[in-house]
């Protein structure tokens, strides 16, 4: 029989990467918060890659950390292998990636949630969600009813999840867990419009059956870098990854069996991610490629399971086996988990505000894959923002909105709620027009003051941060005041690095500006250099080297922000605004941008429409 169990300020549905950050942020901001999960043993599960970070995703993790989120710390504590990607391609695109001990990560996150004050972690499937008299009510399968002022939906691939392997398909969540089927119906009843996306995962094989000698070894970095600005201990590389390739034989097997793929026979309606094609997709679309690279990655220290990155597929089990056995090093592979495609319900993010609250449902928020994104990091970033905003709503504070000039998180959310997405959205460095400013190395300088303002950064951490800024400024002053005299010695070094020799004295800062030089190359000419953390030198050097570009981008950001502060009320009836074109009326009415800046980024809204809106705002919307 149904019974009333408890009341909360905030209820989070799902304890994946989005749910975790949402729950933690809300609880840390003082809200009584419940986090519901279908399976308590897999909090923060990684049902696909056992890794965190990667290009632009590494940026997201550092930003989450800079704002006081948990993902970076958890990744640092459970790293198997740590690598900085894209070294040599420029600091704006350096991205950290870590192989993660999947089970340890999950256990760690569960523990953090369990011990978080104000947070109540509960295994329960939510089967109904409704609103009565200004409160949300959540009903569990065991008929407990909870109330909450705000609800955050972070259902990942569970919502109406359906797994496909060849001709076989069945209702399921990821990794054999229960799907959340009734909640999908409850959302429909509520009037939330959903659509189907799909994603997939490759097979896992047993290490003992794999011939690693036939593969290339991929070790971690010699000097490792933590995700979190608070991690002080050295990250240790514990297990390496391996590389192998598909060949002609693999291609033939796939082409011979294409008709048995639900993707090609049209049985899956869901839209898959463009950047995460199945192996059958890659073979068909890029038939001229002779081989496709595969990464063999460890899932943990206490398991022999290896993840075969690059071999995601929804072909039948017998075909998958043939494919695996056609690959060097995997000829005798024992499969432990079969690759599958999973289809799930999500929303068109255009129905959300930049705070991630639904336009049409007060107090209801979405985060993660539910919002049409893909990836653990994208999910965690949205979870953090949704958690802060739900808490701010409960506490009567202003929404927390990050703009495109502040962060990749802001860019991600702005893209989602302004442009929408037609396939699962993945972050990329090329999506940020301000990427020379939004680097992963300066995430704390960009965001920690904002995290502090919101209440997610402790006094102690903030003091340490201010000290770091102080040291950066002092060091910058130092290099600008030191003059290095020309000498045979230094000129020889300069010429060997293909940069011009000195004829007169030069400031140390001017030498650091040269792309060919770095702190390291100047050590012996800089005897007064203080003993500082390398992150301080890094900031000073990058600030100097990219000064012109940074200044230019900062100008563009300031220009963008001029329109960002002109707020548009949520209840404008655009059809009554004289002079707007039909297309603009329709788009603006649907997307309901919070400000003129966002309105100007909507495709189909012209500069003239923006001018009309500016005048409409100026004369006061109330004067109609």
């Amino acid at each position: 029989m149904e019974y009333f169990a408890s009341q909360f300020d905030i209820a989070v549905i799902g304890a994946g990467h989005a749910g975790i950050e949402a729950g933690l942020a809300a609880a840390r901001l003082g809200c009584r918060t419940a986090v519901f999960t279908i399976n308590l043993d897999w909090v923060g599960n990684m049902p696909c890659n056992p890794s965190i970070g990667g290009t632009s995703k590494g940026h997201l993790v550092r930003e989450i950390d800079a704002l006081g989120g948990e993902m970076g710390v958890a990744a640092d504590k459970n790293t198997l292998q740590n690598r900085m990607l894209n070294l040599g391609k420029g600091p704006a695109v350096h991205s950290l990636r870590a192989q993660i001990d999947r089970r340890e990560y999950s256990a760690y996150m569960k523990n953090v949630l369990e011990n978080q004050q104000n947070l109540y972690l509960r295994q329960a499937e939510i089967i109904d969600l409704y609103r009565e008299e200004g409160l949300w009510y959540l009903k569990t399968r065991l008929e407990a009813v909870y109330s909450a002022k705000c609800v955050i939906i972070a259902t990942g691939t569970f919502l109406a999840g359906k797994v496909y392997v060849g001709d076989v398909c069945y209702d399921s969540g990821p990794d054999g867990m229960f799907p959340s089927t009734e909640l999908a119906l409850a959302l429909k009843k509520l009037g939330v419009l959903t659509r189907r996306f799909k994603t997939g995962t490759p097979p896992r094989v047993n290490r003992r059956s794999v011939d690693l000698s036939e593969m290339e070894l991929q070790p971690g970095d010699e000097v490792t870098t933590p995700f979190s600005f608070t991690t002080k201990e050295e990250i240790e590389n514990k297990l390496p990854c391996y590389i192998t390739y598909t060949g002609e034989e693999t291609k033939k097997i796939i082409l011979d069996n294409l008709d048995r793929s639900p993707l090609y026979s049209g049985r899956i309606d869901g839209v898959g991610p463009r950047y995460c094609p199945s192996i059958e997709d890659k073979i068909v679309r890029f038939s001229e490629k002779e081989r496709h690279q595969l990464f063999v990655e460890p899932c943990g220290r206490n398991t022999g399971e290896l993840y075969i990155q690059g071999l995601s597929s929804s072909l039948p089990e017998d075909v998958q086996l043939k494919i695996l056995h056609s690959i060097p090093g995997l000829r005798n592979a024992e499969v432990m988990r079969t690759a599958y495609a999973i289809e799930y319900d999500c929303v068109d993010p255009l129905c959300l505000r930049a705070s991630l609250e639904f336009h049409d449902f007060e107090g209801l928020f979405g985060a993660g894959q539910f919002n049409g994104s893909s990836g653990y990091e994208e999910a965690a970033a949205q979870g953090l923002v949704a958690g802060i905003n739900a808490a701010n709503k409960v506490l009567g504070k202003k929404p927390f909105i990050l703009d495109r000039g502040s962060s990749y998180i802001g860019t991600l959310i702005d893209d989602l709620v302004t442009k929408g997405c037609s396939d699962p959205y993945r972050m990329m460095t090329s999506r940020s027009e301000y990427r020379l400013v939004l680097r992963q190395d300066n995430a704390d300088r960009r965001l920690t003051p904002l995290g502090y303002e919101q209440g997610l950064i402790s006094e102690e951490r903030y003091a340490a941060f201010k000290e770091k800024l102080n040291l950066i400024e002092k060091e910058r002053g130092r290099v600008e005041s030191i003059v290095i005299a020309p000498s045979e010695d230094i000129n020889e070094m300069l010429v060997s690095r293909e940069t011009s020799p000195l004829t007169t004295g030069a400031k140390l800062s001017d030498l650091l500006k040269r792309p060919q030089l770095s702190y390291d190359s100047l050590t012996q000419y800089d005897p007064s250099r203080p003993d500082l953390d390398r992150s301080i030198f890094e900031q000073v050097e990058l600030d100097l080297k990219y000064e012109g570009y940074i200044k230019h981008q900062q100008q563009q950001i300031n220009e963008m922000r001029r329109l960002e502060v002109k707020l548009l009320p949520d209840d404008i009836d655009y059809s009554k605004v004289t002079g707007l074109r039909l297309e603009a009326i329709e788009k603006l009415g649907k997307i309901r941008p919070e400000n003129i800046g966002r309105a100007s980024r909507i495709s189909g809204v012209s500069p003239a429409d923006i001018n009309v809106l500016l005048i409409y705002l100026e004369r006061g919307a109330g004067n109609d």
Binding site: P273, E433, R581
Partner: protein, 455 residues
């Protein structure tokens, strides 16, 4: 933060009369001072408001014209901002040269209705008038969109798009290389990038030069002569393009069935396009011609819709009239030398003006000239006219060249490629500015279509 200073030609596209280029914004007087030298030797930036200066306008190192510059000091001006109005000798060639000098000296082209918008925002226009201001901006915006369509169809746009594509292509390779370091994406060498960028710079410079040399061909108000078959469109064209008036020889139309010619009508220069007869047809080839004719009408700034006065209105006539609705259009009732069977009041419902004419005898031509001149008078003048949108594209090209040069110098100085790509992306954004496309979206789409990336 300061508003950018805007500039536009604010007099009609007429030949012979005086032309005015208006600048408005914090730096209006400063910019005017860069391109205008008073004969008195006075410094415009020190000039008080409500003051006229006589002097010379220079641009690109050359003297353009003798002119008068009026200085207005904020808030005592039409827009409430600092304003400089340079009155020069009329004719598009000169006014455009003055505008260009202003843009090169730091002004940006004014958007649809921007002067009026600023006047409103600075409290110079009453709240009660805001409705009409919004309508005006909207109308000018529509016009701008049509003008963009006009130039976008043209050769200049095609060229610009091709150049943008070549840069986007390199950017996509780099984006794939950066965002998917695990995939086997070939490196793009800085030398290869430089090759693409320098050749884009050369092509853009050449495009700008060719545009500058060929602008006489695109001068004039874009005017479409339209109507159903056999109402006398070509006769009207021939009449207006009579040898003594024709200032430009025939220019090959973009399609076989549209003939274009620039003619002078009174003080106005019209760029006439004679279109195929509009009628319902089952013939595929013919219907393509009809579609083109309709498209041409939609692009035009002025429509001369021709009707046969000796026959009652037909369905096809109505189709032509519907295209005229809400546009600058003149109903030309032709063949007045024959017996009248047409109900003119029906035509008047759709068009801005109606004129009776006999294209074969030339009777009524003066009336047509007067009607055109009334319609193209200052209050209907459209600062977003195609000639200006060509000018905008030119500015976009020049900006793109600057960004690309920055990219090249970043490569030369050994900067990392992230800095290079940001410059190149700005260049593509400049080139795509008029179509509202974004470089980032084009690049990402191209990454996924060209490369096998992802886990």
């Amino acid at each position: 933060m300061e508003n950018p200073t805007i500039a536009a030609i604010s007099t009609p596209e007429s030949a012979g009369a005086l032309g005015v280029v208006r600048l408005s914004g914090d730096r209006a007087i400063e910019i005017a001072n860069k391109i205008f030298t008073p004969v008195s030797g006075a410094d415009l930036t020190a000039s008080p408001g409500y003051r006229a200066h006589y002097g010379r306008v220079t641009g690109g190192g050359k003297q353009i014209d003798e002119a008068v510059c009026l200085v207005f000091r904020a808030p005592h001006s039409y827009t409430g901002e600092n304003v400089a109005e340079i009155t020069c000798h009329g004719g598009l060639y000169i006014t455009k040269a003055v505008l260009r000098a202003a843009l090169e000296a730091g002004a940006v082209p004014a958007q649809a209705g921007e002067f009026t918008k600023r006047a409103f925002l600075n409290g110079k226009i009453d709240l009660a008038e805001s409705e009409s201001v919004m309508k005006l901006i909207s109308a000018q915006g529509e016009q701008a969109a049509r003008a963009a369509l006009n130039t976008l169809d043209g050769r200049l746009s095609k060229k610009i798009h091709a150049i943008a594509d070549s840069i986007s292509c390199v950017l996509a390779s780099l984006a794939a290389w950066v965002d998917f370091p695990y995939d086997e994406i070939e490196d793009t060498s800085p030398a290869d990038m430089k090759k693409v960028f320098t050749s884009a710079i050369a092509e853009l410079n050449e495009t700008v030069e060719r545009y500058d040399a060929g602008r006489v061909f695109t001068e004039g108000v874009d005017t479409a002569i339209a109507g159903r078959p056999n109402v006398g469109k070509s006769t009207l064209m021939n009449l207006l393009a009579g040898s003594e008036r024709s200032i430009v020889t025939e220019v090959a139309g973009t399609t076989r069935d549209i003939v274009e010619e620039s003619v002078r009508l009174g003080s106005m220069i019209l760029r006439l396009a004679d279109t195929a007869g509009i009628h319902e047809t089952g013939d595929i080839v013919e219907s393509i011609g009809v579609d083109r004719a309709k498209k041409r009408m939609q692009r035009a700034s002025l429509i001369l819709a021709v009707f046969d006065s000796s026959e009652p209105l037909t369905e096809d006539d109505i189709a032509v009239l519907k295209e005229c609705e809400g546009r600058l259009s003149i109903g030309v009732v032709n063949k007045t030398d024959l017996e009248r069977k047409l109900d003119i009041s029906e035509i008047e419902k759709y068009v801005s003006e109606t004129v009776e004419i006999s294209a074969s005898t030339g009777e009524g031509e003066k009336e047509l000239e007067n009607a055109v001149s009334r319609l193209l008078s200052a209050e209907n003048f459209d600062p977003e006219s195609p000639c200006l949108s060509g000018e905008r594209q030119r500015i976009c090209c020049v900006k793109a060249v600057e960004y690309l040069s920055e990219a090249v110098s970043a490569i030369d100085s050994g900067m990392t490629l992230d800095a290079v790509t940001v410059c190149a992306q700005c260049a593509v954004d400049s080139l795509l500015e008029l179509t509202g496309e974004k470089a980032a979206d084009a690049v990402i789409d191209s990454v996924f279509s060209r490369f096998c990336v992802g886990k």
